[in-house]
């Protein structure tokens, strides 16, 4: 992953299409910044958020050690960022599609393959279900391995205050 900032013009010149999201810097250790995504789940974002127990728990766990554990470790140039900064990070859309295929399609294919093999081998329904569960576990392990090999993390684009209204939208950086 490249370090530091890429200006919008640089991204446009390279024809990159990025999916963007806002994050907050929660800690800096040497050259490594810990980023806390601003919107980590749909829970708490709906109209009933004030009455929702799950959202309250998520808010309570948002700071401190639990928040730190949920944060992501992203290497960036430390002199550009400070703790508390809100920044916009971007992920290439083809990387996103590849990650979706690895994380969802691979375990599913292994799971279905295991179930079909067990069925063709003449196993009963209970044994086919066990084979399917085994295939799912193997597929998830394979997806984790493949995901770690082809990992391409998000890159820092700019400070969130520099451009408003850019959260979560997919747009051409221009």
């Amino acid at each position: 992953m490249s370090q530091g900032y890429h200006s919008p013009a640089e991204n446009y010149d390279r024809g990159l299409r990025l999916v963007e999201a806002e994050a907050r810097v929660v800690a800096i250790e040497g050259q490594v910044a810990w980023l806390q995504p601003e919107h980590r789940s749909g829970c708490g974002a709906c109209a009933s958020a004030s009455l929702c127990g799950a959202a309250t728990l998520a808010r309570a766990a948002g700071g401190g050690r639990a928040g730190r554990l949920a944060a992501r470790c992203v290497p960036v140039a430390a002199d550009r960022l400070a703790v508390g900064d809100r920044i916009v990070v971007g992920l290439r859309d083809d990387a996103l599609a590849r990650a979706a295929l690895t994380a969802y399609a691979l375990p599913l294919a292994v799971m279905l393959g295991a179930a079909l093999l067990a069925e063709m081998a003449g196993a009963g329904e209970s044994m086919t279900a066990v084979a399917m569960a085994g295939g799912l576990a193997a597929g998830l392990a394979l997806a984790r391995w493949a995901g770690a090999r082809a990992a391409e993390g998000p890159r820092v684009l700019r400070h969130a205050s520099a451009l408003s209204g850019s959260t979560g939208n997919q747009e051409r950086v221009a």
Binding site: A21, R40, S41, A45, L101, T102, A103, M132, Q170
Partner: protein
């Protein structure tokens, strides 16, 4: 094997869950503005529907039917679907953190996707065996993903087209999906009854 292929073809194209059974219309309209988001949502839904089909088959045949607890079917299937979504969320968080941060927001939406419960209930009605039930779920979800991707591609092109102001946005999307539904009717004679 031929039987399984016909089942997949039938559930994905001929009895498409969105365009023929009219299930899962909310995410079809809501998450079809970009192809990448549609791919993520479609694959996540495919994963959950297939898991839910397997889990609901086991629940039906090993618990609800033997103990005559059919009145708990909808309640227990909703529980199974919510558990499958939570499991998927945990698995994706472990396997692909970048994907989780980007598409994690769609995962809770799957719990309220009526196609997931609809497919599980239709599965019970069909009375299939285990593998056929799983393939029925997978084929239905595949059909959902295909429609979502085609529709998202059309909407991306529509966004650049000169649509009259009165038709731009939702009206153009509704007209487009109705034409898509008509097009899918062409598959209806593919497999002789």
């Amino acid at each position: 094997m031929n039987e399984y292929l016909l089942l997949l073809l039938s559930t994905a194209l001929i009895n498409n869950v969105v365009l023929v059974k009219f299930l899962g219309l909310c995410p079809t309209m809501g998450v079809s503005k970009s192809v990448d988001a549609a791919l993520g949502m479609g694959l996540a839904t495919t994963f959950v529907i297939t898991l839910a089909a397997a889990a609901s088959w086991m629940l039906e045949h090993w618990l609800l039917a033997p103990f005559d607890l059919g009145f708990l079917r909808i309640l227990s299937f909703i529980l199974v679907i919510a558990a499958a979504v939570q499991f998927t969320e945990m698995a994706i968080r472990k396997t692909s953190p970048a994907l989780y941060e980007s598409l994690g927001i769609y995962l809770p939406l799957i719990t309220t996707n009526c196609a997931v419960l609809g497919v599980a209930l239709l599965n019970v009605q069909q009375g299939y065996g285990f593998v056929k039930s799983v393939l029925f779920g997978f084929g239905s979800a595949l059909g959902f993903t295909i429609v979502l991707l085609i529709f998202a591609g059309l909407r991306e092109r529509l966004a650049l087209a000169g649509v009259p102001a009165a038709f731009s946005g939702a009206p153009a999307a509704f007209i487009t999906i109705s034409l898509l539904s008509l097009a899918f009717m062409g598959f209806s004679g593919l497999i002789p009854a």
